[in-house]
């Protein structure tokens, strides 16, 4: 079969999963819906491998294969096809997306077991994966926007999956609104592209762009900046990042899906996909890289202070995506995409482990109320440590090869690009520190009551409450189910986490500088006309970058060990000593408060003004004025309706007589 046939199958299976679960849920019992969902994505992954094999059968310069099912719109120079593009970049993405999503589905089969919305959950989850696959397989900008918007909707549906929990519905709305801002940017960029190039098709756009535009022409910069708005909203980069930490309101596997496989990587993919345009607009690419750098440092500092387990990992995602954005913006495409892959492995693992931990302490998410879980949860502990090692880019884990390759490339490009390397290494130190802050706070120290109970083999089920506000809840549909599930007791969770744990350690071995470079050689087919792709640092320079990153990681872990294990009081002392700094970081640099003051409150005030003045006074005034006028005239005219038939007859006859007289006189 041709690669595109496999590509269509990759899209077909998740869509079938959505439909089966959405319409057939009445007939399903137990975990059926979960297994159907998992099988759908698993088949999509199998087809992705099929696409990979089929693509490898083509020669290296002929690996951009398009296919179209039908014409979507055809009018006045507009020719949009429902077409997909299968090339090394999209195959790489569908492999990562469907592969990691399969494991997340597998984990969810057990994790969501007692939830009343079980089939709905898997229907949404399949739809999310379908949307993301559509986004990465799209062969033109229109289909890209369709997938882009589907992803936005799916994230909304899943973040507010527990729809009776008002913090969750609010978080869903926030994510949706910020994503729509990004959609607007993407749509506007597409308009510009169509105006100047007359086509939406990737191949045609990228081949004609080099003739139509010259470097740093205004319109190319505008297109790239608008694309960045879209990319940053999806990838949660400054200043559109605020939805991502709030998205933690969704079920934990959803967080894993959003952060690891789908959604946030879309922005990175978009920049890599449109690299032709970004190379024509180096200014926009540099802006993007600087925003990525700012984001990765900002998010790393936030992750130091936040105490919500899932939000720490969320900030680490923002930070890691920042690395990817820096990578694909400065031209380290292969390294950026490689980081996307390894990040998908260890971030999904971290979230799954976090979900297991949260279940073990009866739904609490605050790490202040965790501790000493090492003995109670040996599997989760080991796997989460693996995830944290990979996140910290500890030597020879997967994160080590990917992150430090980006930074090595930044050094290699020289000039001011060295700034990215310096900032990146500094943040790498913070990353290692906060990654092990999680491990040491959760698994070391004095065991909490829940941990002690679990050591006796009993999993505590506290009365259900909102982990954020402490409000009382029930376990009916719209709220989390009553049971908790941990990896130690559930085979599907254990299996999914183990596979990811394996990949988190060994996934990096596919791209050892100077040894195999699998990812780099494979992706080269999508970056054939990129001047930056070939300009790679030497193997020795790569290894120097890796060594420096490894050192940073070891120092960070050692520091965390010192602060949280050797001298447990240190962190409290530091908080007392640097209270304002801690408050600043704890409140995430006051970004939410800033938006509250700058955007939210003025809008609410405008709305209130429109309601009280425009609506109540102007609009209602006009309406009631007209009504009163009609009624007043009616009162006057009503007097004529006396009910005397003879009076009517007099008026009639008198009127005719008067008319007759008038015409008689007028005709003279």
């Amino acid at each position: 079969m041709s690669p595109t046939t496999w590509g269509w199958l990759v899209l077909a299976f998740p869509l079938a999963g959505v439909l089966v679960n959405a319409f057939g849920w009445r007939a399903m019992s137990g975990r059926t819906a979960g297994w159907i969902g998992t099988a759908a994505i698993g088949l999509a992954f199998a087809c992705s491998i099929g696409a990979l094999v089929a693509l490898l059968g083509h020669t290296e310069s002929d690996r951009e294969i398009t296919s179209s099912l039908w014409t979507y719109a055809s009018a006045a120079g507009l020719d949009i096809k429902l077409g997909i593009l299968v090339d090394p970049l999209s195959v790489f993405m569908i492999l990562v997306v469907s592969g990691v999503s399969t494991l997340i589905h597998l984990y969810s089969v057990a994790y969501l077991d007692s939830d009343r919305g079980y089939a709905r959950y898997f229907s949404y989850l399949n739809f999310f994966v379908f949307s993301m696959l559509l986004l990465v397989l799209a062969g033109n900008f229109v289909l890209l926007i369709v997938g882009w918007a589907f992803v936005g909707f799916a994230s909304y549906a899943l973040i507010s999956f527990w729809y009776r929990r008002h913090t969750a519905t609010k978080a869903g709305m926030k994510a949706f609104v910020i994503n729509v801002i990004g959609d607007v940017g993407l749509v506007l960029a597409t308009f510009f592209i169509f105006r100047d190039l007359g086509t939406f098709d990737y191949g045609a756009v990228f081949s004609s762009a080099q003739q139509a535009f010259h470097t740093n022409q205004g319109v190319v910069i505008a297109i790239c900046l608008l694309l960045l708005v879209g990319a940053f909203a999806k990838s949660a980069q400054l200043p559109l990042h605020t939805w991502l930490p709030d998205a933690m309101e969704g079920p934990t596997p959803v967080s894993a899906l959003i952060h690891a496989a789908t959604m946030v990587t879309a922005g990175v993919y978009l920049i890599a996909r449109t690299h032709v345009l970004f190379e024509l607009a180096p200014t926009a690419a540099d802006i993007s890289a600087f925003i990525g750098l700012a984001t990765l440092i900002f998010a790393a500092t936030c992750a130091l202070a936040v105490t919500d387990l899932k939000r720490i990992i969320a900030y680490s995602t923002i930070s890691q995506i920042g690395y990817m954005v820096v990578g694909v913006s400065i031209g380290a495409y292969a390294a950026g995409m490689f980081q996307l892959m390894t990040h998908a492995f260890f971030k999904a693992l971290l979230f799954m482990a976090a979900g297991s931990v949260i279940s073990a302490v009866a739904g609490t998410q605050n790490i202040d109320r965790m501790g000493g879980l090492r003995k109670a949860m040996p599997v989760t502990w080991r796997l989460m440590t693996i995830g944290a090692l990979a996140l910290a880019a500890f030597p020879f884990t997967s994160g080590f090869f990917s992150k430090d390759e980006i930074l090595g490339y930044a050094i290699h490009r020289g000039g001011f690009y060295v700034i990215f390397a310096i900032g990146g290494y500094a943040a790498a130190l913070l990353t290692a520190f906060y990654a092990f802050r999680i491990i040491f706070r959760v698994f070391w120290g004095e065991p909490v009551p829940g941990a002690r109970e679990l050591e006796q083999g009993h999993l505590a089920h506290a009365p259900p409450e909102n982990p954020l506000t402490g409000e009382k809840e029930d376990t009916d549909v719209g709220f989390p189910g009553e049971e908790h599930h941990i990896a130690e007791l559930e085979k599907p969770m254990w299996l999914a986490m183990s596979v990811l744990g394996f990949l988190s350690i060994f996934g990096g071995f596919v791209e050892i500088p100077g040894l195999d470079d699998v990812v780099e050689n494979f992706l080269a087919g999508s970056f054939l006309n990129s001047s930056l792709y070939e300009n790679l640092p030497s193997v020795a320079a790569d290894w120097r970058g890796l060594a420096l990153g490894g050192a940073m990681s070891i120092i960070g872990v050692a520091l965390a060990y010192q602060v949280y294990v050797r001298r447990p009081g240190t962190s409290a002392a530091l908080i007392r000593r640097f209270g304002p700094v801690h408050g600043f970081l704890f409140n995430k640099w006051y970004f939410d408060e800033l938006y509250d003051a700058v955007v939210y409150r003025p809008l609410i005030a405008t709305g209130r003004f429109a309601n009280t003045v425009v609506e109540r006074v102007v609009v209602q005034g006009v309406v009631t004025g007209v009504v009163d006028l009609v009624r007043g005239v009616g009162v006057v005219v009503r007097g004529a309706q006396s009910g005397f038939v003879r009076a009517y007859a007099l008026l009639l006859i008198g009127g005719f007589a008067a008319l007759g007289l008038y015409f008689l006189i007028a005709s003279q």
Binding site: V637, R638, Q641, F644, R646, I653
Partner: protein
């Protein structure tokens, strides 16, 4: 004889009818006066038709008779209905339809 006399007679009959409609209170007499007005109109139509040598006016007169017959049917029907419900046969007291 010119058409004038016929038209004058028609005008007089019409004025008598109109005056009756305005002055009398009994619905039966009002109906009679209406009939008088219609026939005054008929007279004028027929007179003009004859004077101009055109038969269309006579056709109109026939149509007016048909309309008048219908009107009488309804009008008498109403009067009978009023009588059977023991309502006063006085149009000034039938004034439920006021604004």
């Amino acid at each position: 004889m010119t058409v004038t006399w016929y038209v004058v007679l028609s005008a007089v009959l019409f004025a008598i009818g109109a005056g009756g409609v305005l002055i009398r209170r009994s619905p039966l007499v009002i109906l009679l006066c209406l009939e008088l007005m219609l026939n005054a109109g008929n007279l004028a139509l027929v007179a003009f038709s004859r004077a101009h040598g055109n038969a269309e006016g006579q056709v109109f007169a026939l149509i007016v008779m048909v309309v008048a017959a219908c009107e009488v049917v309804i009008g008498l029907g109403l009067i009978v209905a009023m009588f059977r419900r023991r309502l006063p046969l006085n149009v000034d007291e039938m004034r439920g339809l006021k604004g």
